[in-house]
Amino acid sequence: MSFDKSVFKEGNKDGIPIGLGYFAVAFSLGIAASNAGLTAFQAGLSSILCNASAGQYAGYTIIESNGTYLEMVIVTLIINARYLLMSFALSQRVEKNTSLIHRLLLGFTAITDELFAIAISKKGNINPYYSYGAFIVASFGWASGTVLGVIAGNLLPNRLVSAFSVLLFGMFLAVIIPPMKQNKTIRAIVVISFFTSFVSSYIPVLSNLSDGTRVIILTIALSLIAAILFPVEVIDNE
């Protein structure tokens, strides 16, 4: 697969709103990192390497409490387990003869909630260069936001931090709401997911689980029920 400049640039463009949202969220993540005792360099490094909001946040909590390395492994595994499902989904959408190096890079660049969402919402097979383009912009926002959060965390007015905090959720809505217009099944599933998620945060056993674990359990259960009740047309794009 040769370098495709126009696809890469398209990725850059779609990565801008994500990068802006990341910047804002990473800023608050940087504050958490600083509280856990990380330097700006260490926090930035972890952001470049991990690109995982909830996962990093949980990681910093373990660093702060001087937890064991095994704890770090288990918590990271559980909080980020949804990435495994995303990687599964991507494996079905890449061209069959995609080289190992592209697969290794896609794993690094295309699997965060937002970057996965924009990659998978494209029609046809995944073009790795689109994801690379989006990643470069988004990752810059994520890492620079974290570093700045460590350095200047408490300088930003609280009012702004509060307004920034809904940016990422707005992005999620922009991914899940538009397909609801045409597709009745997605419409029903999104509404049911909202409802179940809300209720489950009050149900004794489920509400005791960490957010990451709850997301995994509900995702697997609801997606499986939907798949059995409303199977989609099998797309054969080989």
């Binding site: 390497l49 995982a52 390395y69 509900l218 609801l222």
Partner: protein
């Protein structure tokens, strides 16, 4: 005292392994219809679960959060652009918190 760099390496290693294993190991198209349907629904379900109710608790004020959630759905339904939806939610929170 454990080393922060080892912590960071563990975070990176485990996260990357989860991300890359299915992508590199699964080279075939899985023909099973239920499995394909399952993967098709995963992104919608997982994003919906992560958005609600977390979004309404994210800002300083729950009423601002609820209105941002409703406005976000509305803008996404009418327009759909990632950037516009995100910015409208943010503006709503900013304005409401200014009023309240």
């Amino acid at each position: 005292m454990n080393s922060i760099y080892i912590y960071i390496f563990i975070m990176f290693f485990v996260t990357y392994l989860i991300r890359v294993l299915p992508l590199t190991l699964i080279r075939k198209k899985i023909k099973n219809r239920t499995f394909q349907s399952f993967l098709y629904y995963v992104p919608y379900v997982t994003l919906a679960i992560m958005t609600f109710p977390a979004m309404i608790y994210a800002s300083n004020n729950i009423i601002a959060g609820i209105i941002a959630f409703i406005v976000g759905i509305f803008v996404a339904w009418v327009d759909g652009s990632l950037f516009k939806v995100a910015i409208s939610c943010s503006l709503v929170v900013f304005i409401i918190e200014l009023i309240i």
